[in-house]
Symmetry: C2
Subunit: 155 residues, 2 copies
């Protein structure tokens, strides 16, 4: 049986890995209803339509893609508000990487920062009941690292 | 047994569907080697590194993600060259949707255009031995619709 210190160390090392995973692709859009018409009605992609209107900046539409991947369309202003960035190109697309615990969020954020990412927004509790942070890769591409109790990966 | 006309009609209808699928996410980057260092060496994501240097604008690195999704990093200039767009925000990210035949590429491009997409580059033979076109969604988000003989979806 490993000591508590060894167990904690192993868990921390595991938490600092960033598995090769993209959970959701969020497109920041100028007109949410237009985007839903395009993807759901125009392309015929499955979606429950706009949800989350009860939250400020919460209105969003999700599309279930093959292989478990999700596409989200969200107002540019909401993505900018949530990430703390100005509305503009870097907020046009956000890649989401979901993990299994708050500790893993912190670990992955640390790993990304160590790899040269800029921490855009330190991980914190979110309005949707999860825990998440944002980083930008060396080209400014926005990533969200999230623990979402309703969307926990299998491992 | 259906007549040839009916069979062709059914195939054309099938080709004009756009299944809810994202095959690959391409990030347009300013510095390809820096991007590979970040994702491969920094984050530890599996990649064979930069391949395709033998083609003009061909140098690219692929990363194998969970669930069969692929991430590619490609020079912004190459993505601009290939799509025919000026280097800039709309070429920063490209979402790829792979299909099983040239006919399906044409069908999906038509479907997207009918849904309000702008055809950025009509489908044509590609330098990598496939057949592909680009469209932009109503927000300008770039999509590639591709038949790649080396990356054909299961269905």
């Amino acid at each position: 049986m490993r000591s508590t210190v060894e167990t904690q160390r192993a868990r921390r090392a595991e938490e600092r890995r960033m598995k090769p995973r993209i959970t959701m692709i969020t497109l920041g859009v100028e007109d949410l209803e237009r985007a839903v018409r395009f993807y759901r009605d125009g392309l015929g992609w499955p979606s429950k339509g706009i949800v989350g209107k009860e939250f400020e900046h919460g209105a969003v539409a999700f599309f279930e893609l093959e292989g478990g991947l999700k596409l989200a369309v969200w107002a540019l202003a909401s993505l900018a508000h949530d990430s703390g960035l100005a509305v503009g190109p870097p907020t046009g697309v956000c890649l989401a990487h979901n993990v299994s615990s708050r500790g893993e969020v912190d670990g992955v954020m640390g790993r990304a920062a160590a790899a040269g990412a800029r921490v855009v927004k330190a991980a914190r509790e979110t309005f949707w009941g999860g825990y998440a942070g944002y980083f930008a890769d060396p080209d400014g591409q926005l990533w969200e690292v999230a623990w979402n109790p309703g969307m926990v990966p299998a491992d």
